[in-house]
Amino acid sequence: MSHMDQYQQHHPGQYNQVCTAHSSAGTEPCWPGQRTRSPRRKWQLFPGRNRFYCDGRLMMARQAGVFYLTLGLILLTTGLFFTFDCPFLASNLSPAIPAVGGVLFVFVMGMLFRASFTDPGVLPRATPDEAADLERQIESSGCSRPPPRTREVLINGQTVKLKYCFTCKIFRPPRASHCSLCDNCVERFDHHCPWVGNCVGRRNYRFFYLFIVSLSFLTVFILAFVITHLIIRSNRTGFLSALKDSPARYPFTLAVCFFSVWSIVGLSGFHTYLISSNQTTNEDIKGSWSTKRGKENSNPYSYGNIQTNCCAALCGPLPPRSVTQLTPAGPNTVHVLAFDPLRFGFTLQLCKRTKDLYVTKLRPAVITHVSCVSRQELPYSTGEALRQFGLPLAV
């Protein structure tokens, strides 16, 4: 869109911006007639760096490699446990052991998927009108150049600074932060977890926490019973012959479990502390509410006692997604720029299959906005065509 920006600089205020449907997911239809889906869903117009599955219901970060590693490790370790240890333990100790292990495993996987695929609370970017309005407010507020882009709010006696996000063109709500990996502002941003393949924010923090807690239980469970199995076998047949049964897996299982126990149990403990004091990882790392900053510094979001903080974080109401609503993205208005046809001439084309109007030649994309730039009459045929699509024109 850079040539358009340049054009706008030369003729400010005369032309409105072209908004073309540009999904960064990479599956944008380019030419009419191709096998494409009609991109009327909001998630298809999503400007952040995320991947969407199942028609926008599932949402992940772009880099998902480490997530598959997490999945693989959990599946492999549990798989080995169930294959080699459970038959012995079920028959010699109790059949409850594989049952409990099974329940734990299902819970862990469930929480992992929910943490990975839930929208963490992404804030939708400002609409062009909103961004312009904010710019006007910022320009008019300060006389110093450049004008300050912060707002101060008093929350429960603490002064909190709201920063302006240049990418999303909004003033970030308190506790929100911009994730550079996903290129989104996320509400109550905790951290971006590569193991889970997603940001951890307001909407999926409890799933993340339950995932690490249940994973700690699962790891401890597996470690304990693998060692129990080994000990029982050693008592019967001697240590070396017990190892001979399936020697290859012991180093793997024991190593994975041992390192996991230390790291994941530690992480669970850390997050338990964060929940009880109602802080995010982001705030804790920056020391936003630590008393080292000043005697008066305290957490304005904490409810005062541990029980309420825990309940609020884990059992509080879950807000719905703002960005990836599945309903079609509002009445489609079409931006049609009038500019030099020799350089920027474009064509309206109708895709017979999907019945979408496409802008071709300039930048192939589905028309999502039309705005008028002058009051001259639209050729009747085009107006009629646009009206048949239910595309109103707006200034």
Partner: protein
């Protein structure tokens, strides 16, 4: 009809009108920002924007915003009901939300109905349109001001 639009190249002179399609022209938009003084709960500022002075009563505007604030407070309320819902959901591994909707979603539907109602009764006759804040990520209440020409229905 549609065929005429196919392959039509637009030149400098060909621009567009509204009158043909009888759509009201948007004159400007007012954005009512969030009020963060009580924390991160969803609450909007009740300060009356100056651009609406000619169109709307201060009390009506404040009443609309205050009702919205109350509805959002109801959605985000921490109480026995929300805790129960949370615990039940956790025990069923959150599969219960496949069959029932959360309390928050129920209240959001209520809010959508309220906004539609307000638009029909109060705002549309004055050439204004309230946009549901959920469409903007609960960041702003967007009020569109239409030009005061012909009577346009809000939506």
């Amino acid at each position: 009809m549609r065929a005429a639009a196919i392959g039509k190249t637009f030149t400098m002179a060909e621009t567009h009108s509204l009158q043909d399609l009888q759509q009201p022209a948007v004159s400007s938009k007012v954005f009512v920002q969030r009020d963060y003084s009580s924390g991160t709960i969803s609450k909007f500022q009740t300060k009356f924007p100056s651009e609406l002075e000619s169109r709307l009563d201060k009390q009506q505007f404040e009443e609309t915003i205050q009702t919205l604030n109350n509805l959002y407070a109801e959605a985000e309320k921490l109480g026995a009901e929300s805790y129960l819902e949370g615990c039940l959901a956790c025990l069923t591994a959150y599969t219960i939300f496949l069959c029932m909707e959360t309390h928050y979603e129920k209240v959001l539907k209520k809010i959508a109905r309220y906004i539609k109602d307000q638009n029909e009764k109060i705002y549309a006759p004055r050439g204004l349109l309230l946009t549901d804040p959920i469409e903007r990520g609960l960041r702003v209440v967007e009020i569109t001001i239409f030009e005061d020409r012909s009577i346009g229905s809000g939506r």
